[in-house]
Amino acid sequence: MPTNVINITKSADSSFIGQVAKESGQNPYLCYQCGNCTAGCPFTEFFDYPVSKIMRLLQAGQKETILRSRAIWLCATCETCTTRCPCQIDVAQIMDTLRVIARRENYVSEKEIKLFFDTFLDSMKKHGRVFELGVLLKYNLRSGKLFTDADLGPKVLSRGKIHLFPTNIKGREKVEKIFREFERKPRNEQ
């Protein structure tokens, strides 16, 4: 939480509010801060800003604070907030949009989550489908946390729950083509 004074007039970024509204198709001004999203959100206890505060920060145009927050990355899109919002705001959609913008503008406070997502997508780009073991190993390498979930290894392998080799689909270059369309967007960490 910032303890310093927020100079609303100076720091309010109205173009940011507009951008989020446009990309998410939601009107942030509908929110009247009832707190239902925060109340229902399973991740509130792990967030740096609870969802309702994110909504408030959005109304106040506090771009920096929002895009630097960890909350937008920890949201798992469980849709509880969206389901219970009395103002019919698709809050999960807004969180998603904020994540997309943060990625695009190189604010990533939860590098590991992003890294995992990237690894996942790389795998499917490569094979057309996701090669779970590959994803796990590559993520461990990239993140330097070599033994993440190592304890699970035996469990899954002994039960033949996981393939040792990727399945490559015929149309994988088509899938790759889809990805290439989005490559143009900056994806590198700051």
Partner: protein, 310 residues
Amino acid sequence: MNNKRYAYYSGCSLESTAKEYNDSLKEIFKVLGVEIEEPDDWSCCGSTPAHTVDPLLACALGARNLSLIEKMGLETVIAPCPSCFAVLKRAHLKMKKDPEMRERINELIDEPYNLRVSPKSALQILYEDIPPEKISEMAVYEIPELKVVPYYGCIVTRPKEVAEFDDPENPISMDRILESAGITVLDFPFKTECCGAAFGVVKRDVVNKLSSKVLSMAKEVGANCVAVCCPLCQQNLDLRQDQINSLMKTDFKIPVLYFSQLLGLVFGISPDKLGINKLVVSAQWIVDSLKKAEKRGKKIKEEPEAEEEQ
């Protein structure tokens, strides 16, 4: 109804970590006469990661598969994995709502998608297309000791604009399906609480903590088994149950089965075909306590004496 053919989009998880979901579903579909056909050369739906990069990308990845299915000439596709289901359904709805979006996406994918497919979850098919009598008729075994809590997870029924099925707050489809198979289902307040979803690898502690809430509530209401319909939920509750126990200092030993596995068991399908052995927390006792169901009639409890008649 029975001779209706469905497309079947298994998705990546059901090919590996959730193999038992895949197998058991196909088994019970056989029994219930649900004919399925898998699209050739389907690709991954992109799941959560895709829409954190770009909603358009997520939509395109979904649309590619939808167009494959459309070519098969089948109007309904079963997507057992809620995550796949959500992606496919969202893609379908978005393209339906926004013709301009449809344009852009159809440019991206090889074959255009013309909105002729309706994606449904496995639950929805069993709940809406299969008469409950059919299910009870096929349930030739019973498991008296079994007390199940149905755990639906987040996105099978949420948000209701996308799922267009069951109640987002208190879904009952899985309850009813299992009940009609003569399985005892307990009222479960945490049917739709989140287990931590895709963060298993990255934020293990978060996921373990959230999943433990679900398990302890299951224990609270006196359940000895959790029924699920989502690979991620199953992973987080079953595969990670030891992690949970060591982190939260608990001693859960609750088998977490796919609802299709439970159905399979009472249908009398062999446990191996249902991949019971693939479960991390053993469900052997359930298998052992299977017994032939004599006259199911006894099960239907007769009207309680109206207390006014005293």
